[in-house]
């Protein structure tokens, strides 16, 4: 046994790049080793000065917006205001950013309501197109928006040509636009930092999950929530000693994730959840059960190598699938997860640090440069239909 152990380490170790004396592995996505790129100097962003009713006043009304999972739009605005990629000269800008906090409309429980955001967005676009010439120059093709909450009706028609920075979504969904930059949901970095335990604590839980299996309020019979996948996990594995799954809310949730080998990240009402971010930060291999999900920074991060993807129809065989993964694969995934640049790319730290999610967003935008020549419209040419969409959206905000 010890012999195998030694032989295992000799081979791959020579190919490792050492970070702080931990053997980790280089992360190469389809775009190359781009997690470590520095966006400064590669692009310039101009931030529109919108009246505070679009951003500051909304935040003042509900400060909870700073901690819920769509808080990225607020932090992104703050980051861009003081970042070296910002330029005050719009003529030399590659990208234009409109700071409007559309998801900061929360229920008393803290869940976001999507009803006002189309009107808010439309009103903001009307403002920038009338006060600055840059929108009409390209009909928004070199503008980007942080449009996080998936609206079932689809993307606002006015944003057809713009780039959306979205929390990760679902392929072939009306809400997901091609060419979007997908970002992880916001998870509070200080809170996770405070719950770190020493890495020598042995991982003794095989599979870990905490969350709902049946959404009793909205879908009492099951079958709609999570497309039945979470209910299937519960019914198949509730008495399996390897699966530590329940609906409790323990105070040691983060610590437990650091003691687990696999963390389930099944879909809920939406295919994504902050669990993925938490699993990556705590070094637990994510088991993603969501068909057709699009994961954040998919061109920079090789999610296939890091996580385990299980089709929803294969959920009854989950234990067979997980135990039949070869041990070398598992160790390799853990090494990839231990890479600090991987963890940094998922976080929105305050203040921004190098290689964090803010920089990855800018890297993604930089990778889309230079803009195509046909993006620039001839004067007088119009592509967008300003009156498209449901009548309710056309009301001024």
């Amino acid at each position: 046994m010890t012999k195998d152990f030694g032989a295992d380490l000799v081979g791959p170790r020579s190919a490792f790049k050492f970070h702080r004396t931990q053997p980790t592995e280089r992360i190469s996505g389809s775009a190359g080793d781009v997690l470590e790129d520095d966006p400064v100097g590669r692009l310039k962003v101009f931030v529109y000065e919108l009246p505070s009713k679009y951003n500051k006043k909304i935040l003042q009304k509900d400060p909870r917006c700073l901690t819920h999972m769509f808080a990225a739009e607020i932090y992104m605005h703050r980051f861009l205001l003081s970042s070296p990629v910002r330029t005050l000269n719009p003529e030399e800008a590659d990208w234009f950013y409109t700071p409007v906090y559309t998801t900061c409309d929360l229920t008393p429980n803290g869940l976001p309501l999507p009803f006002k955001s189309p009107r808010m967005m439309r009103s903001a676009i009307q403002l920038i197109s009338s006060n600055w010439p840059y929108w009409n120059r390209t009909e928004g093709a070199d503008h980007f928006f942080i449009e996080e909450k998936a609206i079932d009706r689809g993307i606002l028609p006015l944003l057809q040509r713009a780039t959306l920075v979205q929390t990760f979504g679902q392929r072939n969904h009306v809400c997901l636009k091609d060419g979007s930059v997908i970002i992880p949901p916001y998870a509070p970095p200080q809170k996770m930092q405070a719950h770190l335990i020493p890495p020598s604590t042995p991982r003794s839980i095989f599979v870990y999950f905490r969350g709902l299996f049946y959404d009793v309020g909205n879908d009492p019979e099951g079958g709609y929530y999570a497309r039945g996948a979470r209910a299937s996990v519960w019914e198949n594995f509730k008495d399996n000693p390897l699966f530590d799954i329940s609906t409790e809310h323990p105070t040691t949730y983060y610590e437990d994730m650091q003691r687990a080998v696999f963390c389930l990240c099944p879909l809920g009402w939406a295919p994504w959840s902050p669990r993925l971010v938490e699993a990556v930060i705590f070094g637990c291999i994510p088991v993603i059960i969501a068909d057709d999900i699009v994961l954040p920074f998919a061109d920079a991060i090789p999610w296939e190598d890091i996580g385990v993807f299980v089709a929803e129809k294969d959920v009854p065989k989950l234990d067979t699938i997980l135990t039949s993964i070869p041990i070398n694969e598992i160790l390799r995934k853990q090494r990839l997860l231990a890479n600090p640049s991987m963890k940094q790319a998922m976080l929105f730290p305050q203040p921004a640090q190098s290689r964090d999610a803010f920089h990855q967003i800018l890297n993604g935008l930089a990778r889309k440069l230079p803009h195509d020549k046909n993006v620039y419209l001839n004067p007088g040419e119009k592509i967008l239909n300003w009156t498209a969409g449901p009548v309710g959206d056309l009301k001024p905000w």
Binding site: F5, Q22, R203, G223, G228, E235, P241, P316, I327, I330
Partner: protein, 506 residues
Amino acid sequence: MKQLTALQQQGRRSNSFRSALSPLDAATVDGSVKSPAAIFWLVLHGLCCLISLVLGFRFSRLVFFLLFSTSSSPSTTTVYTALRTTLASSAVTSPPERNISAGERASRVVVGRHGILIRPWPHPDLSEVMQAHTIIERVQSEQKSQYGVKSPKTVIAITPTYVRTFQTLHLTGVMHSLMNVPYDLIWIVVEAGGVTNETASLISKSGLKTIHIGFEGKMPVLWEDRHKLESKMRLHALRVVREKRLDGIVMFADDSNMHNLELFNEIQKVKWIGAISVGILVHWGGSEEVELPIIERDDSEKTEKNSQVPVQGPACNSSNHLVGWHTFNSLPYVERSAKYIGDSAVVLPKKLEWAGFVLNSRLVWEDTEKPVWVKELEEVGGDGEDVESPLSLLKDSSVVEPLGSCGRKVMLWWLRVEARADSKFPPGWIIDPPLDITVPAKRTPWPDAPPDLPSSVEQVTSIQENADRRATKNRSRRKRSSRSKKKHTPKVLLDEHVSTLDLRDN
């Protein structure tokens, strides 16, 4: 029933709804024609019952939708679409809810109700559980190699012991702790009174690398003398370490102590000499309930921590430097302390136990580079002086490294419970060959002997009085005899009863 009444109420409330659905408008409006209307009501009720049986709550949902949507934009198309979606969803649900076959599957994910997939035998498969455990083990060993101690040193455990009643009990505890240590281990067992087969057979079961040495002199009965002899035995073991030039970390594993396995990870950090915190579990002998003096201790006590369990070990200031020692304050216990082994009183530890210290074995080597503050082993304990703790090996005790986050973590527990020194027990606790003649012991009455009831009661009371009056009693034997006493009195009664019955039958 509820649905029926609800439907009836709906029926009465909204005539418009019924007129939209039913083709027989005229018949309902005309109230004079009673019997066809009544029949019509019955038929409609029956129809509604049937529909609601099939659709369940969806029927009422459909009804409410139609009722309240008439306010905004009534149109037959909306009614038809509503009906269609209801029927479509009902068709999906009419097969049993938990179906084994899969839902729709294509590259596009379909919105709608999916079945909950459950496999036929939703219970763990044992071979997979075993495989999962091998995976976990492998992950943990990988973690250890990455984050644990890089070059682990051999642990040299020194245990003084002697053959006595409960030696097996004490030694097995230590043995199992040492067997679980993940590092290389050498176990030096020093036995008072010379090497015996019993101890040797016990130690050999561990499978560890052991050095079993004997020490001249029987273990004395008084606790004071016992502590002195144990110190001498430990020094003797250190001499062995020096002669054999054993390399590693020396720790003192007394056979009544309880070790946390994290202790062995922690002591790997020691450079020359380290100190750890030892929790003292003070045990009260005797059957009386004694209120622990810890609770009634004066709060102005400065030498002890304000915890229920006293702890011996290093004391640090805020910058984690060693500034002093927490020692055991034996003043509250002095009157009640045990004098000799087997005493049913509290056994007190020394001020600083040997077990709370760990040394780098090179400190006791000769002809090797050592720090200036350590004395040679020959100088220490030579003239019969009492070596109380390894601090006597040092000229300057401030170089001791505090371990376990500066003594805050207690990984070692001290407790001394011993049976009476002259208690009789069969060697190895095995009676071999089995006894063919059994003789009642002096104080244990033979079970089948029918003593008179009053005399047996007397015997019981006399025994209890003896227990109260005389503090010194063989605890194990008394326990056995008192237990058997209590059991036997009802049994004796029964026997008597049976025998009288027999007489009567005869």
